[in-house]
C-alpha cells in the first residue's frame, strides 16, 4: 500500500526543500565550495629567527612550540584528518630575503599557510604579499601597532584580506604598564626611557609616553635614551639614567640587549635606586636566573605567563598541559613567544574546522578560512583569544613585579594584575595613539 501524500504535506515538503536548497546556496556563496578533503598532509611554513640575536629568546622557543603543537595535533588525528607537515624556516637575512622566501613558500612550495615573523619589519614587508599572491599569512609575534592600522582614524578594515596577526600589538604591553604604574606607584614623579633605536623601540616608547601623559600628567619625563640594536656596552646609558634620577625607567629592550643591560646595571648598583618597567620582560628572569633583580615591573605581552591560570576552565586545562609538555620537552617553562606560536597554529586549526563545518564538510577554500578567522574566538593556554574584524588579535594583558621565591631558581611575578582586553586594545578602526589621546 502506498502512502498518499496530501497536497498540504506536499507543499510543506517542497517548501522545506526549497528553504534547505536556498540556505545551502547561501552557505556555499559565503563559505565557498568546499572540496573533498585531500589525502596529503597540510603544508605549514613556520618562519622564526633560527639564527641571530632574536633566535635564543624568541625564534627557537617559538619554533619549538610549533613543532610541539604540530606533534600534538597530528597525534590527535590532524586537522580534519590531514596531518601537518611543518616546515621551519629562518627569518634571518633581512626584509628582502623574507619577501623572497615568502613568495617561494606561497608560489613554489604552495604551502597552505605561512605562520611567522618576529620582527615588525618582516611583518610590514611580508603581510601585503598575502593578498598579492593569494596566500594565507598569519603573523605570530611581531609587535608594531602600525601593521593593521591605517594612516588616520577611522581607517578601513581589514587592511589585508588574507593577512592576519593572531596576537595583540605592542599597544597592550605599554598601555598595561602605564595602567599598572598608575595603580601601584601613584606617587612617582619622574620617568625615563631606554629603548632600541628602531621602529620597535620608538613605537613602544611612543605608546607608553602617550599613555603616561594621559594617566599621570604630573609625571615628568627626565631622559629618553636610544641605544642601537645589539649594543654590548650599556654603562654610559646606565649612568646617564642614574644621573637623571627617575623613579621608573620604561624599556622595550629584548634578547641579548635586555640581558646585557640587566647584568651591567646590576653591577653598577642601578636597581637600588631605580625600578625598571619592561614592556616585554617576561622571558628574562628565567634567562638570567637568581641574579635577576627583584621588584622590576614586567609585562607578559598578553597573559602569556606559565604561572597564570586563565579564568575559563578549558583554557586553564590547556595551560596545565602546555606548560608540563613544554617543560618536559625543552627543560624550560614556556615564554611568551611560545604562547604566540600556539595561538597562530591553533587559530589556523580552529578556522579550518569552523569553515568546514559551516560549508557542510569538506576542505574549505582559503577565502572561507579567512572568513572563519575573522571574529574567531577560541581557548588557548593563556585564555580566550579573539581575532577581530581588523584581523588583529585581541587579548588581556598581565603585569607583575619580579620576586624570588624558594620554589623557582629565578624570580617569578608577584602582585600580578590582568588588564582586560577592552582596557588595553584600541577599538576597531581607531589608531592606538588617537584612542589614547581621546581618553577622558
Amino acid at each position: 500500500m502506498t502512502k498518499e501524500v496530501s497536497r498540504r504535506k506536499f507543499l510543506k515538503y517542497m517548501g522545506a526543500t526549497a528553504l534547505t536548497a536556498g540556505s545551502l546556496g547561501t552557505t556555499s556563496k559565503v563559505w565557498g565550495q568546499a572540496k573533498p578533503i585531500p589525502k596529503d598532509p597540510i603544508k605549514i611554513a613556520a618562519v622564526s629567527f633560527l639564527t641571530g640575536a632574536a633566535a635564543a629568546p624568541f625564534g627557537i622557543p617559538g619554533d619549538n612550540t610549533y613543532k610541539m603543537c604540530a606533534d600534538m595535533i597530528n597525534k590527535e588525528g590532524g586537522i580534519l584528518g590531514r596531518k601537518i607537515d611543518l616546515q621551519s624556516k629562518d627569518e634571518a637575512g633581512g626584509v628582502d630575503a623574507q619577501v623572497k622566501l615568502c613568495r617561494k613558500l606561497i608560489l613554489e612550495d604552495k604551502v597552505d599557510v605561512v605562520l611567522g615573523y618576529i620582527s615588525s619589519a618582516s611583518c610590514l614587508a611580508v603581510l601585503p604579499l598575502s593578498d598579492e599572491l593569494g596566500g594565507l599569512i598569519i603573523a605570530y609575534d611581531c609587535g608594531t601597532h602600525e601593521l593593521m592600522e591605517g594612516a588616520k582614524s577611522p581607517f578601513d578594515i581589514p587592511k589585508f584580506k588574507l593577512g592576519f596577526r593572531s596576537k595583540a600589538h605592542l599597544g597592550i604591553d605599554n598601555i598595561a604598564l602605564a595602567l599598572y604604574i598608575k595603580k601601584y606607584y601613584p606617587n612617582i614623579k619622574k620617568v625615563a626611557g631606554i629603548n632600541q633605536d628602531y621602529a620597535w623601540g620608538r613605537d613602544s616608547w611612543l605608546i607608553f609616553e602617550t599613555a603616561m601623559k594621559k594617566l599621570m600628567p604630573q609625571v615628568q619625563v627626565v631622559k629618553t635614551l636610544w641605544p642601537p640594536l645589539g649594543n654590548t656596552d650599556f654603562t654610559a646609558h646606565i649612568s646617564a639614567l642614574m644621573g637623571s634620577e627617575p623613579d621608573i625607567v620604561h624599556s622595550s629592550l629584548w634578547g641579548g640587549d635586555a640581558v646585557t643591560f640587566s647584568k651591567q646595571a646590576l653591577g653598577m648598583g642601578f636597581f637600588k635606586k631605580i625600578r625598571m618597567a619592561y614592556s616585554r620582560g617576561e622571558p628574562y628572569p628565567q634567562e638570567v636566573g637568581k641574579d635577576y633583580p627583584e621588584g622590576q615591573i614586567i609585562c607578559c605581552a598578553g597573559t602569556h605567563y606559565f604561572l597564570h591560570t586563565p579564568k575559563d576552565k578549558t583554557s586553564a586545562d590547556l595551560q596545565k598541559t602546555f606548560v608540563t609538555e613544554y617543560h618536559k620537552r625543552y627543560g624550560k617553562y614556556p615564554s611568551y613567544p611560545c604562547y604566540h606560536a600556539y595561538q597562530a597554529i591553533y587559530a589556523y586549526k580552529h578556522a579550518v574546522e569552523k569553515a568546514s563545518n559551516a560549508a557542510g564538510g569538506g576542505w574549505p577554500t582559503i577565502e572561507a578560512i579567512s572568513k572563519a578567522l575573522t571574529g574567531l574566538s577560541f581557548p588557548t593556554p593563556s585564555g580566550i583569544l579573539t581575532i577581530r574584524e581588523d584581523h588583529n588579535g585581541y587579548e588581556d594583558c598581565l603585569v607583575g613585579v619580579s620576586k624570588l621565591t624558594p620554589k623557582y631558581p629565578f624570580p617569578i611575578l608577584d602582585k600580578t594584575e590582568v588588564f582586560p582586553a577592552a582596557q588595553v586594545n584600541p577599538p576597531v578602526g581607531t589608531k592606538t595613539v588617537d584612542w589614547i589621546n581621546s581618553w577622558k
Binding site: 640575536a53 633566535a55 635564543a56 634571518a92 636610544w226 654610559a236 646609558h237 642614574m242 646585557t260 653598577m268
Partner: protein, 288 residues
C-alpha cells in the same frame, strides 16, 4: 656621577683601544684595511665564552681569567690561517681588491661562527660576577670593568715596548715607514707581514674575550666595534700607537658624556668629529 661617566668613557676606550690597535698594526705594517677585523673580535668572544661555559665552573677563579687569553691565542691562529690563505695574495693589489676580499672574509667568518656555534647566544658572565663591585667615592662600579682597563693598559704598554725596544718591533716599524726601503735592506716582508696580521688579529680576539663576560656572544657581534674602531683610526691617525690611544679616549669620552648630556646626537657627533678630522687633518691627529 661625573666620576662614573669618566670611568665608563675609560672602559669603552680600553676596548676600542685594543680593537683599533690591532686594526692599526695591520694597516700600518701591511697596508691592509681589514674589514674582517670585527669578525675576529667576534671569534675571540665566542672562543672565550665557549671555554668559560665548558670549564669555568670546574677551575679555580684565577684560571678563569687566564681562559680569557684563549681569545688572544686562538684568534691569532685564525688570523694566521686567514693571512696564509687569503690576505697574502692581496699585498700587491689595490685597495678595492683588499676591501672586497676582506669584506668577503667578514661574511665567510660570520658563517663559520654560525656553523661552529649555531645561532644561539652564549652567556659567560662568571668572570664578571666573580669580581663583584667596587666602591668608588660612594658609587658602585663593577670591578671587572676596572680589570678590563688594566689589561688594556698592560697590553698597550707591552705593544709599545715591543715596537720600540725589540728588533722584531723595530723591523715592523721600518716596514710601516718605508716598505720599499725595508725590502731593500733585506727584511723578510712576507714573514713580518704574517706576524703583524697574527698580532693584530690576536688583539681583536683579546678585546672580544674581555667583553664577553659582560654581554652574551651572538651573531653580528663584531659589527658595531668595527665601525667605532675605524672612527678611532680615522681620528687618531694610521699606524700610530699614540693615535690609537688618543682616538679611543676621544671616542670613549664623547660617547659616555654624549649619552649623559645630549643622547639624541651622541652617535652623529662621533661621525661629525671623524668627518671634521678627515677634512682638516686627513692623516689623523697623530698620523704620518
Amino acid at each position: 656621577m661625573w666620576i662614573i661617566y669618566t670611568l665608563n668613557g675609560l672602559y669603552f676606550a680600553a676596548l676600542l683601544f685594543l680593537i683599533s690597535l690591532g686594526l692599526n698594526i695591520i694597516l700600518g705594517v701591511m697596508g691592509i684595511l681589514n674589514l674582517a677585523h670585527g669578525s675576529l673580535y667576534a671569534i675571540g668572544a665566542f672562543i672565550a665564552a665557549w671555554i668559560i661555559i665548558a670549564i669555568g665552573a670546574k677551575i679555580p677563579p684565577f684560571f678563569l681569567y687566564i681562559t680569557l687569553l684563549s681569545g688572544f691565542v686562538l684568534t691569532g691562529i685564525v688570523g694566521l690561517i686567514m693571512e696564509k690563505s687569503l690576505i697574502r695574495f692581496m699585498y700587491k693589489r689595490t685597495l678595492e681588491y683588499q676591501l672586497l676580499l676582506t669584506f668577503g672574509a667578514l661574511m665567510l667568518l660570520e658563517d663559520v661562527i654560525k656553523m661552529i656555534w649555531g645561532g644561539q647566544a652564549y652567556y659567560a658572565s662568571a668572570p664578571f660576577d666573580l669580581l663583584g663591585k667596587a666602591d668608588i667615592f660612594g658609587h658602585v662600579y663593577p670591578t671587572y670593568f676596572l680589570f678590563v682597563m688594566i689589561i688594556a693598559l698592560i697590553a698597550g704598554l707591552l705593544i709599545w715596548l715591543f715596537m720600540s725596544k725589540t728588533k722584531l718591533g723595530i723591523m715592523l716599524r721600518a716596514i710601516s715607514l718605508d716598505r720599499e726601503m725595508a725590502t731593500g735592506i733585506g727584511l723578510d716582508i712576507n714573514r713580518l707581514s704574517t706576524f703583524a696580521f697574527v698580532l693584530g688579529s690576536a688583539l681583536a680576539g683579546l678585546a672580544g674575550a674581555l667583553v664577553v663576560p659582560t654581554t652574551p656572544a651572538l651573531l653580528g657581534f663584531g659589527h658595531e666595534p668595527l665601525i667605532l674602531g675605524f672612527i678611532v683610526v680615522v681620528v687618531g691617525g694610521l699606524g700610530s700607537l699614540k693615535g690609537a690611544l688618543v682616538g679611543a679616549l676621544l671616542v670613549g669620552f664623547t660617547r659616555s658624556f654624549g649619552i649623559a648630556i645630549f643622547p639624541e646626537i651622541e652617535l652623529p657627533l662621533l661621525f661629525l668629529i671623524a668627518g671634521i678630522i678627515l677634512v682638516v687633518k686627513p692623516e689623523g691627529l697623530f698620523g704620518r
